[in-house]
Amino acid sequence: MTPGVFMFLATLAVISALGTVAQRNPVHCLLSLVATLLTLAVIFIGLDAVTVGFLQAIVYAGAIMVLFLFVIWLLNLQTELRSAPGYLAVKAISGLLCAALVAELFLLLRHAPTAGGAQAAAPPGYGSLDMLATTLFADYLVAFEITSVLLLAAIVGAVALARREPSRRGVSAQAMAAGAAAASSERGA
């Protein structure tokens, strides 16, 4: 990727990221976030991480953001009319943290390896699905499987929370716990 293309994409990404936080209408914010994610996907592809780029587009832009849209609709979020009063302390702290983050970035960039390391061409097959699969399913198999168990637990938890009570209301907590236990043991088996 030539520096010109990268600068263009990076500018686009930063502008849409600013749009995500600066706009008042939640749906417009969401669309800006989608634009940010898609621009990042294109940057990934330009940096030879083709698979990661496409997965970013499929998973984040194509699926997770649609779920965000659902949440916005279901909660019936309205346009933010004006900023909430009395949050000066919060604003000050977040501004400070933001400045710290920017400072950290600059520090890292100053000490980042440059020249030789950065200019070298990527090895053949770098970023391909083959290489990604080998890394995930051979080198880091255990970590990968444990992560999927973690996700499964989250799914079971969500199902248990969303489960409607079949009959008596008095024992709801107990039944919920039992249901969750049953569901998890079922999945585990």
Binding site: V50, T51, A57
Partner: protein, 371 residues
């Protein structure tokens, strides 16, 4: 250098023009086809040249469907409802059409053509991870419909938009699982390589097409693809007997035409994907780069350009056939109920797709003999 760029540009333009034209012709296909199915006459107005009449032919309604109706649509008032999000209302139809059109960039519509010393691949963009690209663009296609419904400030439209996004997200999983099984079978993500792998024959006569290897994935892709295109029997987002016209209730004129065009372009997309994955793409049975090799052992040598043209024609014929199949299904089946739709997606396609992947994986490992 310049001529290379020119070739790429021509390929890209040809693909887009072909898709949009086919989408237009499908409108006529649908009108006359549905008339045929329901024993009606169908579109038969506006014979402005009078040519067919003088020849004693019945009026086929081509002018009516392909010229008069689009003209009417594009000259109508472009109405934006009160309280609508004007920007998104205008953006949504194009947000729906754009991902469908760009998906065709990776579709190989022929093998290679040799002109002089130049080898031209008949594919607009040769991406290694083309199958992932297809999934990505299909995934992004949700936004146009969902935002069209939301920005209209209309309850019917919003309900249609919500239904559309839920349906498309659900069937994307089935679609993805079907494509994963296909990718495992051919061992590549490149659609051109998949088409090449489907050349040759089994037992001396049977073309090595994907349908013989992955019949289950073919059915899944057909069902999930039709659900993605949101047409009967999966037309709940539109549901004209419940939701007026669903997500495009508040659209008129040119923008509505763009939504309609998206539907037809999606039909073409599903047909093209089925052709590429399961019916050899541009492969003609027994045709190789040097000509026909018939099962009996007969050989018919053909010039290289003619082979390429035959491949192109075969690709077109297969695509049109599968478009027709989808129109046939659309005019045959009634609409699903919403719970039936969700049950088919999550309890039908997803487990079936996972089982298909497991079986495919076992067969691939056993036949490759490696590891």
């Amino acid at each position: 250098m310049l001529i290379d760029l020119l070739i790429e540009a021509i390929k890209a333009i040809v693909v887009v023009v072909m898709v949009l034209n086919l989408a237009g012709v499908l409108l006529w296909f649908e009108r006359k086809g549905s008339a045929l199915i329901q024993d009606r006459i169908g579109a038969n107005r506006a014979a402005i040249t009078g040519f067919g009449k003088r020849m004693g032919l019945p009026n086929l309604g081509l002018v009516n469907t392909l010229i008069a109706d689009p003209l009417k649509l594009f000259t109508k008032e472009d109405f934006v409802p009160d309280g609508a999000d004007k920007f998104l209302h205008a953006l949504a139809p194009f947000l729906a059409l754009f991902p469908v059109i760009i998906t065709f960039a990776v579709v190989p519509f022929g093998d290679v053509v040799q002109i002089g010393s130049r080898t031209i691949t008949l594919q607009a963009a040769n991406i290694n991870a083309a199958a992932l690209y297809v999934l990505a663009t299909i995934g992004i296609g949700v936004y146009g419909v969902a935002l069209g419904g939301w920005s209209s400030n209309n309850r019917w439209a919003l309900l249609g938009g919500i239904r559309a996004s839920a349906q498309m997200i659900s069937y994307e999983i089935g679609l993805g699982l079907a494509i994963i099984a296909v990718v495992m079978t051919y061992g590549t993500l490149d659609l051109q390589e998949m088409c090449r792998a489907q050349g040759g024959v089994w037992f001396g006569f049977l073309p090595r097409w994907g349908i013989c290897l992955q019949p289950v994935a073919f059915l899944m892709l057909l069902v999930a693809g039709m659900a993605e295109s949101k047409r009967v029997p999966f037309d709940l987002p539109e549901g004209e007997s419940e939701l007026v016209a669903g997500y495009f209730t508040e659209y008129s004129g040119g923008k509505q035409a763009v939504f309609m065009m998206t539907d037809f372009a999606e039909i073409v997309l599903v047909a093209v994907l089925i052709t590429v994955f399961f019916f050899g793409g541009w492969q003609v049975p027994w045709l190789y780069r040097d000509g026909f090799h018939f099962p009996g052992g007969a050989h018919l040598a053909l010039p290289q350009l003619l082979v390429a043209i035959l491949g192109l024609v075969s690709f077109m014929i297969k695509t049109v056939l599968f478009c027709w199949l989808q129109i046939l299904i659309r005019w045959t089946l009634p609409r699903f109920r919403y719970d039936q739709l969700m049950r088919l997606g999550w309890k039908g396609l997803v487990p079936l797709g996972l089982a298909n992947i497991v079986v495919t994986a076992i067969v691939v490992v056993l036949t490759s003999g490696a590891r």
